[in-house]
Symmetry: C2
Subunit: 316 residues, 2 copies
């Protein structure tokens, strides 16, 4: 438009999600960072009022939920995935916006159900939905939420893990598509507890699969990881799905995504303390450690295999 052209390099932009995000991070850079964390972590960090967090997520019918999904679950998921981003930063969510883009002239009951699902989740965590937008389109339903939060002590970034750190994951993983992707509990209380009382070196939430999000954390930290398949906490849903698909349950836990659990790195003694004291009142499992080299997974038979970011790859 007017004024200086945006930065961002030559066209065409890159066609994988992670590279597209890097391209955007360049395109959106405005002047000197000075305490700001912009595009590229789970949420942005703003150096205001002791540290504010800002993030959003958008979900579309046909991509993130089916036409048959319960409206309450859609609202829950749209808001919950942003709350999970705030949790991954160790923050406390304060206020949210909810937007819905729906087909013209129909489905008001569905919209009301979406609003109710988001409102119930917000209320359970003391978050206020303070606004939003409802618009009409001719396409499939699109629902999104933005969340403003505040930092507790300091933000938990993706960067900061070092070789020798232990890798921990909350809850259990895999098979989320069987239903939990619409009913999960964002790990807000656990994230707050980590930021307030533990020395966590790096954190991310698992939205695109353990393998993929672990590789993201490692890339941001400039290290690798070595995890063991037999130590990955496998959810009952992953076992059920495994019986259907014939793929092993741990592979589902590694790759399925939409778990909205937290993945953190901490020094060995601190990691042991987290596993023992269970911040947030949930299970924490050590699945491996950070290493200097490339990321790899020890398969159940003992053989090592490279970890190349298995998980959900966003089509762009």
């Amino acid at each position: 438009m007017r004024g200086a052209r945006a930065r961002g390099g030559s066209l065409p932009p890159p066609a994988t999600e992670d590279k597209w995000v890097s391209w955007l991070a360049r395109a959106f850079r405005v002047g000197d960072p000075g305490g700001w964390v912009g595009v590229g972590d789970d949420a942005a960090v703003l150096p205001l009022a002791g540290g504010l967090l800002l993030t959003c997520d958008t979900k579309a019918e046909g991509t993130h939920f089916t036409r048959r999904a319960l409206p309450g679950g859609i609202g829950h998921k749209a808001l919950g995935s942003s709350l999970s981003d705030i949790a991954a930063m160790g923050g406390t969510p304060l206020a949210a916006l909810l937007w819905v883009c729906a087909s013209k002239g129909k489905g008001l009951r569905r919209l009301a159900g979406i609003a109710r699902g988001a409102a119930a989740l917000a209320r359970s965590l003391g978050v206020r939905i303070v606004g939003g937008d409802t618009i009409a389109s001719r396409g499939p339903l699109v629902v999104g939420a933005a969340v403003l939060g505040r930092v507790n002590r300091r933000p938990l970034l993706r960067s900061g893990a070092r070789p020798g750190d232990r890798i921990l994951v909350s809850g259990s993983l895999g098979g989320s598509s069987l239903g939990r992707h619409l009913t999960f509990t964002p790990r807000v209380r656990a994230g707050e507890a980590l930021a307030r009382r533990y020395r966590v070196r790096a954190a991310i939430d698992i939205s695109d699969g353990l393998g993929r999000d672990l590789v993201r954390l490692c890339r941001a930290s400039g290290c690798g990881a070595r995890i063991e398949a037999v130590r990955i906490p496998v959810s009952p849903a992953a076992r059920r799905l495994s019986r259907r698909t014939g793929r092993s349950a741990w592979r589902h836990a590694l790759s399925d995504g939409e778990d909205f659990e937290l993945l953190v790195a901490a020094a060995p003694r601190e990691a042991a303390r987290i596993a023992r004291e269970r911040p947030g009142g949930i299970r924490w499992t050590q699945i491996g450690e950070c290493v200097a080299g490339a990321s790899r997974i020890v398969l159940p038979g003992g053989r090592e295999s490279p970890l190349r970011g298995e998980g959900y790859v966003h089509p762009l």
Copy 2:
């Protein structure tokens, strides 16, 4: 979902936009307001850090822009309409999120153009785009933005106008669909100046048409308005459109919408000062006054006609 059910009254929810927003305001109410302004004004007000503002807008292809719209204009409009909301609150925008929901596997050049358009507008106003989301869907393009701002002195709310106040509008109105809806300047500098140096009683931005947004301001303030058709500042585009459509240019200025100008109420002496001193370096025109009774417009011939909220009615 879990926990207490959302409030919000019995189904089905109401089918006009303003009533739907009222329904949502009830559904989203969490505990005691205590300084918060939630759903129902141009932006939410959060009693944090001296007053924060939070708002978002979403735009869909086929509803808010055509398939042939320049990508930069789409990004400009998505971000600009949220910036206009911050301007209507007299705030200073600080940070923004941008989300795009686009068809799978194509149009990355278009996405890059959208990002560049938003980035250029953000840079021109010193706003940082700190994050967002890019997702794939099978539907038409949907683009949205959320903006976090800070209050200057106090927020300019829609409520607060009183009978006898003069009504002022910035810039000129009508015919935005001929192009300006993709290139408008959000009145951020004017809004800041109003909040800092003038005693404005109420403010709103004109997104759905002068008639409709004036009635909203009056409803929030518990008064009516009497405006004169001949005093409405008519844009050159409204005149061009009038020659095409055969409708009078002032009717376009009253009803077209997407002007993204500011509409404010102020006591007579303060209104005269605004018109004279031109905060934001733009034209301000007195078009009428607030009254105790129902809202009405004096037609060019001198006859009075009820003002029932002419403008764009969102299909729901």
